[in-house]
């Protein structure tokens, strides 16, 4: 994925790249090496967006103010579209299941599972 493509995927979310998304992206790139090369950046970016989106929304913590909630929503939606483009069905399902478990824990007042662990495990759904 070229820098131009990443730029396009960050439309309306520009500030996030330097606010943790680039680090998350690099870490997730290590987790997607089993996938087709062309799909790897999209998958890593999708995982990074989910992680940052959950953080922006303060899921499980004090409610994020509306602008941050909406940015978080856009992160999750864009990740969903990237996964629809590039991920096998099993990974799409595993990602959705991971978000379900995190949001259920938040709704039930339980401890939040570690996002990155869940998402890396979601990538393993294809194996």
């Amino acid at each position: 994925m070229t820098a131009q493509v990443i730029d396009r995927e960050l439309e309306r979310l520009e500030g996030l790249w330097t606010d943790g998304l680039s680090d998350a992206y690099r870490d997730y790139m290590d987790a997607v090496s089993d996938f087709e090369q062309a799909a790897q950046p999209k998958l890593a970016l999708a995982a990074g967006l989910v992680e940052v989106g959950i953080r922006l929304q303060s899921l499980g913590g004090r409610a994020a103010p509306p602008p941050l909630l909406l940015m978080g929503d856009l992160c999750l939606a864009r990740a969903s579209r990237l996964l629809a483009d590039a991920a096998p069905q099993s990974v799409q399902v595993a990602f959705a299941t991971a978000i379900e478990s995190m949001s259920l824990a938040a709704a039930a007042g339980n401890a939040q599972p570690a996002t990155r662990e869940l998402l890396i495990r979601a990538f393993e759904a294809v194996r």
């Binding site: 939606a77 969903s80 579209r81």
Partner: protein
């Protein structure tokens, strides 16, 4: 059963008038799929016949009738001196009555697959025996009509979607299921799932169960966005009940919205059609991007028409369009059908939002008038009122300040006294007309009337 009259005018004394095409047209117009067309002459000197429309043969028939019952052959019926209550204009037509005796006065024709069942050489004739005159035939059509089949199919599909929604909420843990169940059970128009179901019946691969799964997932997704919207807009009530944010706090609202956002995308992914998954994912992204724009535009409230349309096409119309496209893709419709339906959904969704804006100014809507104004929600009537030469300056001045009850009431009053609402109505109706035109060029397996009705109903609320 449909009953009506079929009128015609003869221009000769004896004349075989071919009414086959007119009967075919009536069958098509009625939507009769399988059944019967009953035809009855309402005259004693008009008969019915089914035979070949060959001009010389028709002359043979006329000659035959003339030979069997020649005109002026001393018929008792024509001896007016021996009859009671003879009308002044009573025709001398004993021969015509006798000829009619040789023909049928009633006929029943079969209809199969929406077409009259006729042999290759068969035509249906009304046989004038005492013309020229204006004549009438009684016509009845009975059997299975397309609209009944559509309604039965639609009712069945509606039940399937409701069952699927119930099933999905039953398997979810209570912390998330309970608030969503309250929202789902409070009603809603279910337009998006309806669009999925309808369009999923168009292509060659019609699978009602998969369509219901997709429709239910789309409805859950829509409701998930509403839960977050209500927190952002600080709304206290939706569909007459407290919002999740108001009843259970914003933290729960965010979590429940996220859960059903994820669950809906999972259910859609599990359907296993990549094009469907992409169509919905793209719509969801458009919705979220537009929500950000919507909130940003509140700083320049009430904004302008272009900004309004850009936000509405993302926030509302995108999911309408995706619902239409996804249903059509699920049933493996042709690409031109998918695209026509996508454009139809986009237009209907935009018109629907305009109608929804107008409801904010209707005292009979059941919602408090001016709620959008109070929450500074983008609204086309308000944009037009702010542009209005007469009321615009006061509207803009009021909107620039803090909006207490008095100011909100005054803005609503100004909007209602201006041309803004009628402008929006005209615009919404024009969008619906455009949506209907999108359906004209593609084959929709008999669903065009239902989709047209649905498009019209989207703006009927403002009639």
């Amino acid at each position: 059963m449909i009953g009506q009259r079929l009128g015609f005018r003869s221009d000769r004394a004896t004349q075989f008038i071919d009414i086959t095409q007119r009967l075919r047209d009536e069958v098509h117009r009625s939507g009769l799929i399988d059944g019967r067309l009953h035809l009855q002459s309402l005259h004693t000197t008009v008969g019915l016949a089914v035979n070949e429309n060959e001009p010389l043969l028709l002359l043979d028939f006329e000659n035959l009738l003339e030979r069997v019952a020649p005109a002026g052959n001393g018929y008792e019926h024509d001896d007016f001196g021996r009859r009671f209550e003879v009308a002044v204009d009573e025709p001398v037509n004993g021969h015509a009555h006798c000829r009619q005796l040789l023909l049928a006065a009633v006929a029943t024709l079969l209809v199969e697959d929406g077409e009259l069942v006729l042999g290759r050489w068969q035509s249906v004739f009304a046989v004038e025996l005492d013309g020229p005159r204006h004549r009438q035939l009684a016509l009845q059509l009975d059997g299975d009509f397309a609209h009944q089949q559509r309604k039965a199919r639609s009712n069945g599909s509606d039940v399937l979607v409701e069952l699927e929604l119930t099933r999905q909420l039953l398997v979810d843990p209570e912390p998330v299921a309970a608030p969503m169940r309250r929202l789902v059970e409070a009603g809603g128009k279910r337009l998006r799932p309806k669009l999925v179901q309808l369009t999923a019946g168009i292509g060659p691969r019609h699978d009602p169960l998969r369509a219901a799964e997709l429709a239910a997932a789309v409805e859950l997704l829509h409701n998930a966005t509403l839960i977050h919207d209500d927190y952002v807009d600080e709304s206290t009530h939706r569909r007459g009940r407290p919002t999740v944010a108001a009843a259970e706090g914003p933290e729960r609202a965010i979590a429940v919205g996220d859960y059903y956002f994820a669950k809906a995308t999972r259910l859609i992914a599990q359907i296993g059609n990549r094009q469907v998954t992409s169509a919905i994912a793209e719509a969801l992204e458009a919705i979220c991007a537009s929500q950000i724009d919507d909130v940003a535009l509140r700083g320049a409230y009430p904004g302008d028409r272009d900004s309004y349309l850009r936000v509405v096409r993302g926030k509302t119309a995108a999911l309408f369009a995706a619902a239409c496209a996804a249903g059509a893709l699920l049933s493996e419709s042709r690409p031109e059908v998918v695209e026509a339906l996508r454009r139809y959904g986009d237009l209907v969704g935009t018109a629907f939002q305009m109608a929804d804006d107008m409801v904010d100014f209707s005292p009979s809507s059941g919602k408090p008038v001016g709620l959008d104004i109070r929450q500074r929600v983008l609204s086309l009537p308000l944009i037009y009122a702010a542009e209005d030469k007469r009321v615009g300056p006061e509207v803009r001045q009021l909107l620039a300040g803090s909006l207490q009850d008095g100011e909100v009431d005054r803005v609503a009053e100004l909007v209602m006294s201006s041309e803004a609402l009628s402008r929006v109505r005209v615009e919404a109706e024009a969008l619906v007309d455009e949506a209907v035109r999108e359906l004209e060029s593609v084959e929709l397996d008999g669903l065009r009337p239902t989709l047209i009705d649905l498009a019209r109903s989207a703006v009927d609320r403002i009639a």
